[in-house]
Symmetry: C2
Subunit: 144 residues, 2 copies
């Protein structure tokens, strides 16, 4: 779906800034920091402000258009939410590639948690490592 439709679907105003941000996310299969996104967006939209990027990432996140990922190593990363419904990610520490994962571990232990009286509301499951490409190639580009 193109950026404009995505925004209208969520009843968000269609601004050039929002479209640019979404396009950046659409044109990559890697996870990006707010800074990464800003650096890309400013190429097509000189003059866009950092706070606009931050504000819009928050909006897009709250509308479910993007996902937010916080690696152990620190920082916050974003990616377009491409799949409907619940899913997890496998992320390459070398190139940042993000691979969606169907599998969800919650099913396996939901019952056990309830037994203990714990009511789960959210969970996170992320896998980090090296993708097929980076496993082989050898040289490390922009690790994080």
């Amino acid at each position: 779906m193109d950026a404009e439709k995505l925004l209208k679907k969520q009843q968000l105003k269609v601004t050039s800034q929002r479209k640019a941000i979404i396009r950046v996310l659409q044109n990559t299969d890697t996870v990006l920091s707010a800074h990464d996104i800003f650096s890309e967006v400013i190429k097509t939209l000189p003059g866009i402000n950092f706070s606009t990027v931050y504000r819009n990432l928050d909006v897009l996140l709250s509308k479910g258009i993007v996902c937010r990922i916080t690696p152990e190593s620190g920082g916050v990363l974003y990616e377009l939410r491409r799949e409907d419904g619940h899913h997890h990610h496998v992320i390459c520490k070398n190139c940042g590639a993000s691979i969606p994962l169907e599998y969800c571990p919650m099913e396996d232990i939901q019952a056990k948690l309830m037994e203990k009286g714990f009511t789960p509301t959210e969970h996170r499951f992320e896998i980090y490592g090296y993708c097929e490409k980076c496993n082989k190639g050898g040289e490390l580009n922009e690790p994080f």
Copy 2:
């Protein structure tokens, strides 16, 4: 194990600051922010500096004495590592209680990842929700 033994075991110098930090972590079953830890430590060790807390949390983390947790909501939290070996956490969003979990989802999908050519190096699995106590009680104290 007491703080001093814990430090000596890892061949770290035993300082009053380190002991105080560890004791704070030993006296709770909840996850704490660096700020939380500082606020507690300063009660028993007036004059301790924030940077000392940060530096030591890093040291303790690298020695495996503490765990670091980064909730979706942001921020960085620490807890004493009480279990040997690999484990995950169930965390109460209300009181911060941290419950260790034996179950690890990696076993279930390790093979599938390798098939795809992905080499996992780290992963995280955390569950957030409300513990038995907070489920019932009702009032919310220090949510995060």
